[in-house]
């Protein structure tokens, strides 16, 4: 064991490159030379990175501690190079002597080339895996190394696993070490590696494994061939499953966006027959209100900043609902008898709101914090990544759907809305205050648009024009679903979302838009009233 470790050490030293004296060991690290290279050109920086990676494997602890902050400092541009060497700007220490000093004269911070960036990330992770004080830091470093198993210097993981004190992390490191042994000499290790790789199927794994069919061992060793074949089959199954799930998820996420944009319109259009072209701008205002809530929290309660998306829900709803009610009371109620005029009036309102926001906030995209619950995603199986911002929109849409449905189906107010939708005169005759119902329903539809703006802000850019992107899609969904039915809106959104996602990879996004529109036109020829028609007399 000791001998093996010594051999690894030696191999590491040799791999460490020309800046480690090959015979005497790590004591001979030329610190000033290393810093000089960090400040040098792309080639020198590359060499310095391989020295750093080498230190992760074979240097002594003092050198490793010396090297640990360097790679990160270069990546973060916190290394200021001047005539006397370099300064770590974060701690204010000289990079070589680690004594406090300020950067002299005109300091410059080297920019990593794309190629070097990957090498430095690797060096930083390798050093952190060996030298970082906390388990979480080491685990994060392991995650970084996992992304590029092919580049991990051979033996690093074995040393790291041996030195690792945390049992859980130790197992993870050993697993990765087994995965990385795919091209090792020992066939048993390779078969083990194959099984490990097949545990996490992806296209990259498939490419990696199928390349092995050209390996001499594939022909020579039947065990190895069987392992490769079964791994290939497993990975292919995983990819197929992942693809199906990804398509469903993408469809669902697009559907949730369409649904959120359309549900408010469905209520307004369904109830009053008003084509509200300002709906997109109400979505936009919902997003702006969300931003304002975020900015307010930044000042009033910075500790709650991460929850602005949740805290903004009532605010976004109420503000847009108030705008909707004001719009109805001041403008639209005079135009119920003239649908064309109401269409033009809402268009004018949409232009007005857009330009008002442009004047007040400017045309640039708003900067949103991305709280942890809408950041990144988890790989599930195959190439399917479950992204949290989309999940947020899906959950949001489902909750909105449930609440809206409950409101319309289970409350007296909902009963009134349905009565007015089915037959306005008769509803008025039995004493339903149709005027107030109109106003409240318009408010509800507008408030739902505001919520749509909130749900979309983690996914799309928020700017004064954002509403225009949604208005056409929203109408498509409402018309296809059948005017004024919630169920129709849901089914239409799901259908359009899913069909879009299915067509896009085949014929491209442009064709998908065209084909979906043609399908809707064809469908409406056959069923002009849409998927779900409201029973009852229409004027």
């Amino acid at each position: 064991m000791k001998l093996a470790r010594f051999a690894l050490l030696l191999a590491g030293l040799l791999a460490g490159g020309p800046f480690l004296a090959p015979a005497a060991g790590a004591q001979a690290l030329d610190r000033a030379g290393l810093i000089g290279n960090l400040c040098g050109n792309a080639g020198a920086m590359g060499e310095a990175a391989s020295v750093l990676t080498g230190l992760a494997m074979s240097g002594d602890d003092a050198d490793r501690a010396f090297a640990a902050p360097l790679a990160r400092a270069v990546i973060d541009r916190k290394l200021a190079c001047d005539d006397a060497g370099a300064v770590l700007t974060e701690s204010g220490l000289d990079a070589v002597t680690r004594t406090p000093r300020a950067a002299a004269g005109e300091a410059r911070t080297p920019v990593l080339s794309l190629k070097n960036r990957a090498v430095y990330e690797l060096a930083d992770a390798a050093l952190a895996l060996r030298a970082a004080p906390t388990v979480t830091q080491r685990a994060a470093a392991l995650k970084t190394l996992e992304r590029r198993p092919a580049l991990i210097p051979e033996g690093l993981l074995d040393i790291a696993a041996e030195a690792e004190t945390d049992a859980g992390l130790k197992v993870e490191i050993e697993t990765l070490a087994q995965t990385a042994a795919l091209n090792a000499a020992d066939p048993a290790a390779r078969i083990r590696a194959l099984a490990r790789i097949a545990d996490n199927p992806s296209r990259r794994a498939l490419t990696q494994i199928s390349a092995l069919t050209a390996d001499p061992a594939y022909v020579a060793n039947p065990d190895f061939r069987a392992a490769v074949d079964s791994a290939t089959a497993r990975v292919e199954r995983g990819i197929a499953l992942g693809d199906v799930l990804a398509t469903l998820y993408n469809g669902l996420s697009f559907a949730s966006i369409l649904f959120m944009a359309a549900i408010g319109l469905a209520i307004i259009f369904g109830l009053m027959g008003v084509i509200n072209l300002a709906q997109g701008e109400l979505i936009m205002i919902g997003a702006y209100v969300t931003w304002l809530v975020q900015q307010g929290l930044r000042i009033v309660a910075p500790s709650l900043l991460d929850w602005y998306l949740v805290l903004a829900i009532p605010v976004a709803f109420l503000v847009t609902a108030a705008i909707g009610i004001a719009l109805e009371a001041s403008l639209l109620r005079h135009l119920y008898k003239r649908p064309l005029m109401s269409l033009l009036a809402t268009w004018a309102v949409s232009l007005f709101l857009m330009n008002l926001v442009r004047v007040v906030f400017g045309t640039q995209n708003l900067q949103f914090e991305t709280p942890f619950y809408v950041t990144g995603g988890v790989p599930v199986i195959g190439d399917f990544i479950f992204t949290w911002n989309r999940m947020f929109a899906i959950v949001f849409a489902v909750v909105t759907l449930a609440l809206t449905w409950g409101l319309v189906r289970r409350t007296p107010f909902g009963l009134n809305i349905r009565a007015v939708t089915q037959n306005r005169e008769m509803a008025a005759c039995i004493g339903i205050p149709t005027r107030r119902v109109d106003m409240m329903a318009f408010g509800l539809g507008s408030g739902l648009a505001g919520l749509a703006g909130l749900a979309l802000s983690p996914i799309y850019s928020v700017n004064p024009q954002m509403g225009q992107n949604f208005i056409i899609d929203a109408f498509m969904v409402v018309v296809l679903g059948g005017v004024g039915t919630i169920a129709g809106t849901v089914v239409a959104a799901l259908g359009i979302g899913q069909i879009n996602v299915l067509i896009e990879p085949l014929w491209g996004a442009v064709a998908a838009k065209v084909i979906v529109l043609l399908m809707i036109i064809a469908f409406l020829q056959w069923r002009p009233e849409g998927l779900f028609a409201v029973k009852g007399r229409r004027k």
Binding site: A42, D76, R77, V111, L112, S113, L114, K115, R117, A118, E121, R147, S202, R203, R204, L206, T207, Q208, A211, N250, S253, F254, I257, M354, N355, R358, G362, T363, Q364, N365, L366, Q367, F368, T370, T375, G376, G377, P379, D383, I385, T387, N389, R390, I459, Y460, S461, V462, N463, P464, Q465, M466, Q468, N469, V501, E504, P505, G508, A509, V510, K513
Partner: protein
């Protein structure tokens, strides 16, 4: 050979057009002569509404700023400059209409405008018919050489190809596979056609690239990013994305790209239309390392840039311009250069008449904020600019990764298309 014949053909037809046009436009000349005492008018064709507003809108203010600078020094040929602004509302045919109005009714001496190539293509017949002069401040697909348009920014040979070369080179990432994603119009399609021709000439097989287009204003990039990941995982060498989507599709794409966990060290994105302004509102910590290529980056070194940035910040403050005073993008600098190049040409010609001004182009030089001395020759209406490759940093800007030694001679017609 083809180039020369085509150019001479253009020159010949241009001369013929001038010959035909001059007797007809005599009244206009007379009126111009009468107005000799008032300020000389310049027109802007940049949208302050619609999808392009956030980008194009700021160029109006830059043109004004440059005009103010010139006016402060006494104007051109003894006359001050008056800048007229229109709003074509990101509606391509409206650019042509605004251009016609500016040329016919306002008698502007030169137009500064257009961002997308599709808007330039609609304006082109108007400026040719009216014999106006359009300064176009964007880098673009080339393959055009009108005597009525000054192409202030670079054609692909001196912007896109150096960047692609960098990515394919040893210092870049030795890129072997290319995913081209663009908005569906003339600029992305032409650029991608030329890139494919370029790769073919380098012996790269057709299986090494994939091409996808999205409609204008497209924002749901989930499936496309999935496709990019699948493309990258097929193996066969380092993949890169050549991104030619425009407007708000850029931040929406970058957001989805980062959200699916792809870093620049996995698959770098070369965003050909990506500028500092597109990164506003994005968390760029996860986008560090992605690339763009322009003839100017805000981080360019030199006194000219320092002066420009200072003037712009002061101008934003003094005139309460609705754009950020701390962000400066290539087309802004190009628009600024345009006004100065025009003023120098007009001063050299001692006239504001387009044919006279055009004749004065040869030999003009200007110290651009990019730090390069940009120049024009009599050969064509292109301007020789420097080349920058930028790398996204975590402060919503671009670090300069590479820049050319001097200003390469612009090549209008690509041999790869």
């Amino acid at each position: 050979m083809v180039n020369i014949t085509r150019r001479s053909l253009l020159q010949a037809s241009g001369l013929a057009a001038v010959g035909l046009a001059s007797p007809l436009s005599a009244p206009a000349f007379l009126r111009n002569a009468q107005a000799q005492s008032g300020p000389v008018k310049l027109g802007c064709l940049f949208s302050s509404s619609g999808t392009m507003a956030n980008l194009e809108g700021r160029l109006n203010h830059v043109v004004r700023m440059a005009a103010d600078e010139i006016n402060a020094k006494g104007g051109v040929n003894g006359r001050t400059i008056d800048v007229l602004v229109s709003d074509p509302a990101s509606d391509w045919p409206l650019y042509a209409q605004s251009a016609k109005q500016m040329l016919q009714q306002e008698k502007v001496s030169a137009l500064f405008g257009c961002w997308t190539s599709v808007s330039r293509k609609t304006v082109l017949p108007v400026v040719e018919q009216e014999n106006g002069l359009l300064y176009y401040p964007l880098h673009f697909e080339g393959d055009e050489n009108s005597k009525n348009v000054v192409y202030v920014n670079s054609p692909p040979a001196s912007s896109v190809l150096p960047a692609v070369d960098y990515l394919m080179g040893e210092e870049g990432v030795s890129a072997k596979r290319f995913f081209m994603l663009g908005s569906d119009y003339v600029w992305p399609r032409t650029i991608n056609k030329q890139l494919k021709g370029y790769w073919k000439s380098k012996g790269i097989p057709e299986s090494a690239w994939k091409e996808e287009y999205v409609p204008f204003g497209f924002s749901n990039f989930q499936t496309l990013v999935n496709q990019i990941r699948a493309f990258a995982d097929e193996g066969g060498g380092q993949p890169v994305v050549v991104l030619t989507v425009v407007g708000n599709s850029i931040p929406d794409f970058m957001r989805e790209f980062a959200n699916q966990g792809i870093l620049a060290t996995d698959i770098p994105v070369l965003g050909l239309d990506m500028v500092e302004a597109d990164l506003e509102g994005l968390d760029t910590a996860k986008l560090v390392g992605h690339l763009n290529c322009w003839a100017y980056l805000q981080n360019a070194k030199g006194p000219a840039n320092e002066a420009f940035l200072k003037n712009w910040a002061a101008n934003v403050k003094a005139k309460s311009v609705p754009f950020s005073g701390t962000v400066s993008i290539d087309p802004m600098v190009s628009a600024y250069d345009s006004v100065h190049l025009w003023a120098m040409a007009a001063a050299k010609a001692g006239s504001f008449d387009v044919p006279e001004v055009t004749k004065a182009f040869a030999g003009l030089t200007f110290d651009c904020p990019s730090g390069y001395t940009i120049s024009m020759t009599g050969e064509n209406n292109y301007v020789a600019r420097g080349v920058f490759i930028g790398s996204v940093n975590d402060a919503q800007g671009f670090d300069i990764l590479w820049q050319s030694k001097d200003t390469p001679k612009p090549v209008p017609f690509s041999p790869y298309g």
